[in-house]
């Protein structure tokens, strides 16, 4: 190691910071809030925090896959809103099948972004921005620009999502299943390895025969599916679908991924980090509410937190030119 170039040593230092800073920050934040309000550490508050974090975490986990590739998915909040509307409209016709239908809409949205990126060679931030606009408009048209309450007969089909078992909202195990599935995909599947390879060094992955285009499409489809899932969970919690349901979610979702330590430049990070990032965002939100910061002003803080987190996690050797 003594002979390693300085850039490598710097990269190793940055990696260590990425590894430990998020968890430390989370513990410190919880400690600070608990110091002011000891009841914050109670089991019931923690479960509430978990349930509140779940929606954001599910969306951010999907987004993590795209960011691992060095891309971005700006369509997640619109796709989530669209999925909530699809669920609310379809549930009275097809019952429980409305859930897979809503998620399928998310997959299709991701696939459209992905194919546009791969075949037309357009950056993901443009394709997902466009698809996000399409999804938002589709949600408006489908809902008649109004919020669509879930019909009473949906209680059986959708109600299980927000029901509780021994005081634990089902939203928490749903999020855990998604976390475990995502972790497994990252660490034990060919697709997961390919994702890290493309994110860390696309030219070398390409030369090694990795189907780079398919990996990119796949990541955007995962992101679409999980954004839609987040929309379904959100609809179940609020008992309605709405074309603006998930507005204000994009910034916290990107912030959760970056604060967790997944680098925007790709190749570094994962869903476990995103879990920590999402918890940090939630705790900050609780803390701000506690201090009395207006809900709408909280985005100001998330904006600053995002810039700070990206400044810490980004790998500058990979971006000689900042555009």
């Amino acid at each position: 190691m003594t002979n390693a170039p300085r850039a490598v040593l710097a990269a190793n230092r940055a990696a260590r910071l990425r590894d430990f800073a998020p968890l430390t920050a989370l513990i410190v934040l919880i400690g600070v809030i608990a110091a002011f309000a000891p009841s914050f550490l109670s089991v019931s508050t923690m479960l509430l925090l978990g349930a509140d974090t779940a929606t954001l975490f599910i969306m951010a986990t999907g987004l993590t896959w795209v960011i691992l590739l060095g891309g971005i998915d700006l369509s997640v909040q619109s796709v989530a809103s669209l999925a909530s509307v699809v669920l609310a409209v379809a549930v009275s016709h097809v019952g429980g099948l409305a859930i897979p239908l809503a998620i399928a809409v998310g997959v299709v949205a991701g696939a459209i972004s992905g194919f546009a990126q791969d075949r037309l060679r357009i950056p993901s931030f443009i394709t997902t921005l466009a698809v996000g606009g399409i999804a938002a408009a589709a949600a408006l048209v489908l809902s008649g620009t109004r919020s669509v309450p879930l019909p009473p007969q949906a209680a059986g089909a959708v109600g299980w999502i927000t029901a509780s078992t021994v005081g634990v909202s089902h939203v928490i195990p749903i999020a855990l299943v998604i976390l475990l599935g995502s972790l497994f995909a990252e660490r034990r599947t060919v697709f997961g390895r390919w994702t890290f390879a493309v994110g860390a060094g696309e030219p070398a992955a390409l030369v090694a025969g990795v189907p780079v285009g398919r990996v990119k499409v796949g990541a955007l489809m995962i992101s679409g599916a999980l954004a839609a899932t987040a929309g379904v969970v959100l609809a179940a919690r609020l008992n309605s679908g709405s074309p603006t349901l998930a507005n204000e979610f994009l910034l916290p979702a990107v912030a959760a991924v970056c604060v967790g330590g997944t680098a925007l430049t790709g190749g570094v990070g994962g869903s476990l980090r995103t879990l920590i990032g999402a918890l940090i965002v939630s705790v900050v939100r609780v803390g701000m509410t506690f201090v009395g910061v207006d809900v709408f002003a909280q985005q100001i803080v998330f904006g600053f937190v995002l810039v700070l987190a990206v400044a810490i996690t980004i790998d500058r050797t990979k971006i000689p030119v900042v555009k």
Partner: protein, 507 residues
Amino acid sequence: MSGIAPPVLSLQGISKSFGPVVAVRDVTIDIRANEVVGLVGENGAGKSTLMKILSGLFPPDAGEILHHGRRLQLNSPLDAARAGIGMVHQEQSLLPNISVAENIYLGRETRFMRGGTIRWKAMRDAARRQLDRVQIAVDPARRTETLSFSERQMVELAKALTLEEETDGQIVVFLDEPTSVLEDAEMRILFDRVRALKSRAAFVFVSHRLEEVLELSDRIYVMKDGEVTAEMPTAEASVERLYHLMVGQQAHAEYYREDRQLPCGAEVVLRAEGLTLPGQYRNIDLTLRAGEVLGIAGVIGSGREALTRTFAGLAPHAQGKLTVRGQTVRLRSPGQAVRCGIGFVPQERRTEGLVLPMSVAANMSLPSLRRFAPGGVLRSGRERQVAKDWVRRLTIRTPQVETSCANLSGGNQQKVVLAKWIEAGMRVLILDHPTRGLDIGAKEDVYDLVRDVCAQGVAVLLTADTLEETIGLSHAILAMRDGAITQRFDAAPGRKPSQLDLIRHMV
């Protein structure tokens, strides 16, 4: 000229390393006024590193640069420009999408500013005066990409000469391999201009084309393995003498493991018939047999780089027929090449060869990942075991197989690249400058590996850094010039062609 005034530019004991690789070592060079200095050496001898130091792209680790006897600190290309050090690059540095005049004054537009706007006519007029001095009739308002290669080179020369306006002393213009893609007549024009401009500037002519260096230079420095090995007035130099100094004594058969060069098999694994990619190469016919090393020799612009990338799936051919192991294919992606059994060992080891931040084990398994994941689940234990086997067999120096490839030296990185393709069972390896930037020991390891894989029937297509390496390793050599194959040489041990034989068909 006079030895009384200090040299315009004097390098004193300059050294520079990149990690474990020493690029230049204790280099001392003087460039005097009104002089053309020749700087010769093979690829990798350290010429480019030296020029990058003098361009202010990175500082030397040791030594100092004296400018008219005063110490010069170069922290940026702007500093170099202010000191009157100009570069005419081999890979041209003009921007294609702006006018000739804008290129000439790029970064120095403020002199034409009045009231916050640029006076374009003044800039064009100034540019026209500069172009007149190199006697090239190009409209300074033309978009640069519409110029021919040699016209652009003249524009670069004109641009370098504008540095006269920046500095009090004489300027020094570095010509980096300026003739490698020029027609003979264009080269004559360039040489005439340099001779005419010698009265007001010093030139450094960097090249490996010895005849031209002898013709143009007053004095010649020879570099080899990062050091200056000789300095002489041109009157005392000859092609043979320079050549000998550049290549040295290491060119013996043992170095390239010629005793291990086995006759190649009968099976043709790759065949090209009339392969053409417009603007790059045309009518390429070649056959590559199992166990054979086929070397391709050619200068930059000969088309050999594009041809190499065609076989790697990175630049599909336009016309002709390519047959890989009996199947006619057009390789549209590297993935397709890999499925055909072709592995590419690229020149850009750190970007195309390896996913640098990933571990040794993950890089080795990347092309054959599906084999490590029966039923879709990665068996990381097996992956680690296979990687450990390769680390032991190829004596790869790495603390662990989980170590990131970024922490390995160049030679060990290259072994990881080779291991991944052998593990993936490739039948053809495309070696693109496989020993670039490696030290002698690592080079020998790579040569041994090439002989090993050939003994197992793998076919190798080689484009090497030096002719010596091409000759030493190859069973047969194709010389290329201007996109076409000009000659095929048999290169069985003991019947190897000489470098001069090859050069005659390359230039």
